[in-house]
């Protein structure tokens, strides 16, 4: 996302025209879906949250006019909507909500792997471990980690999206990664 694109999106959002808003839906739906999925672990919830994000954005477009960065603003709305959602069902760990009609874990082989039953089992085990590790993070830690690791946002952008100062943002990410290390240690054997 270039600065010019972001400014152009900001102008589109500020115009408040529903049809202009459609352009933003086209541009941001997919990346918001990925973020919402990483926060909730559920495809249907992620799709609902994308819609909720745009609805909130449209209704609060007047508060946006003074802001400079559209993508940070829309991420913030998506994170808040996802945090609300996760809070409502926080008793359920993420791994239990992954969509799978068979009730198991989605199969996913690593690139270049031949999908032998053994390899498939290993990749499923690894996926389960990753999901369990991510589920051990608090919602804010998960949001901060996802925005940094998967969405490649800068610390200041993550801070703006989560309403945190830079030091608190870094602390949240550090704490999250430390928890992930502890959870995934048996797989990697790292210790300190």
């Amino acid at each position: 996302m270039t600065k010019v694109e972001d400014e152009s999106d900001a102008v589109t959002a500020a115009s408040g025209e529903p049809e202009a808003f459609r352009l933003l839906v086209d541009r941001y739906s997919r990346r918001l879906f990925r973020l919402a999925y990483r926060m909730t672990g559920n495809v249907q919830d992620a799709e609902d949250l994308v819609q909720e994000t745009f609805l909130r954005a449209y209704r609060s477009r007047d508060t946006f006019q003074a802001r400079a960065n559209f993508s940070t603003w829309i991420y913030r709305i998506c994170v808040n909507a996802s945090l609300d959602h996760v809070r409502k069902r926080r008793a359920q760990p993420i791994a239990e909500t992954i969509d799978d009609p068979e009730g198991g874990v989605q199969s996913e082989s690593l690139p270049g792997d031949t999908a032998t039953p053994e390899r498939l089992l290993l990749s499923q085990e690894a996926r389960r471990a990753v999901e369990a590790a991510l589920a051990s993070l608090s919602p804010v830690e998960r949001a901060a980690f996802a925005l940094r690791h998967y969405e490649q946002l800068s610390i200041s952008e993550i801070g703006a999206a989560l309403g945190l100062r830079e030091a608190a943002t870094k602390n949240t990410i550090f704490r999250g990664v430390q928890k992930l290390r502890r959870s995934l240690q048996p797989l990697h054997g790292g210790s300190r």
């Binding site: 529903p18 870094k170 502890r182 959870s183 995934l184």
Partner: protein, 256 residues
């Protein structure tokens, strides 16, 4: 020999700090191994791909959204059948009277602040107050939600609360300021809520930096017993709706 800290290695592996050359790291096999382990773990986490969204996701989102965009935002139920203009005029008079009364008892404000007060109409000041208080409640909510999150079973016996404490300390400073502002502006419910919030924030700020699982649960129980998260949430939503309805009414009058 002083090894690199885990934080330094995580920051390096995640590209969070400028990758300045680290002479120790270049020579220390143990730290290099730690860095490799962190990198390997991050690569494994990268392999956890979110599923591809449905190809027609934007259409589906837009279809669901288009009808809802036309709905007027929900407005709070008005308690008294008094026009909004009268309420705002009364609020402005009360704010002016309050400011006058406070001015008699407090030290004179710095000249710049006085000029600002004269140049800024009271209703605008109240609106600004509502916006900043709403943002404050938003941040407070995130902190309380973070603390309310159940501790994973697999987690360590000790929990580090230092970042939450720092966060709470920052919120306390602004909380006091906004409470005084809300009080002076006659926003009694808001002032009351902020007064209720302060001891909770103080409790968090003054907890030990490292707590046991038991202490963490006790802190969660105390916060839950105060019902403050629910109250903050309701106030946050109410303020948000009030702010939007003011913007809407200005739009209708063509003042925006």
């Amino acid at each position: 020999m002083k090894h690199s800290s885990e934080r330094e290695l995580i920051a390096r592996a995640m590209g969070m700090d400028a990758a300045a050359p680290d002479p120790h790291l270049e020579q220390c096999a143990a730290c290099q191994k730690q860095l490799r382990d962190i990198g390997q773990m991050l690569r494994q986490l990268s392999s956890w791909e979110a599923p591809e969204p449905p190809a027609n996701l934007p259409d589906r989102v837009w279809h669901g959204l288009a009808t809802r965009l036309e709905e007027p935002p929900r407005r709070p139920r008005r308690w008294l059948p008094i026009p909004a203009g009268v309420i705002w005029a009364t609020a402005a008079i009360l704010l002016a009277a309050g400011s006058y009364w406070m001015g008699r008892w407090q030290r004179p404000a710095p000249p710049a602040a006085s000029r600002m007060a004269v140049l800024t109409p009271p209703t605008t000041r109240t609106q600004v107050l509502l916006v900043v208080v709403q943002a404050h409640l938003d941040r407070t909510q995130v902190l309380l939600l973070d603390l309310a999150h159940p501790l994973p079973v697999a987690d360590a016996h000790q929990v580090n609360l230092s970042s939450e404490q720092q966060w709470a300390r920052e919120l306390i400073a602004s909380n006091r300021l906004y409470e005084q502002g809300a009080d002076a502006a006659g926003q009694d419910a808001t002032a009351h809520l902020l007064a209720e919030l302060e001891p909770v924030l103080l409790q968090i700020a003054h907890s030990p930096a490292e707590v046991t699982r038991q202490q963490w649960r006790e802190l969660q129980d105390r916060i839950a017993a105060s019902g403050i998260l629910f109250k903050v949430r309701v106030a946050d939503q109410t303020l948000q709706t009030r702010i939007h309805s003011q913007v809407d009414s200005k739009e209708q009058k063509g003042t925006l």
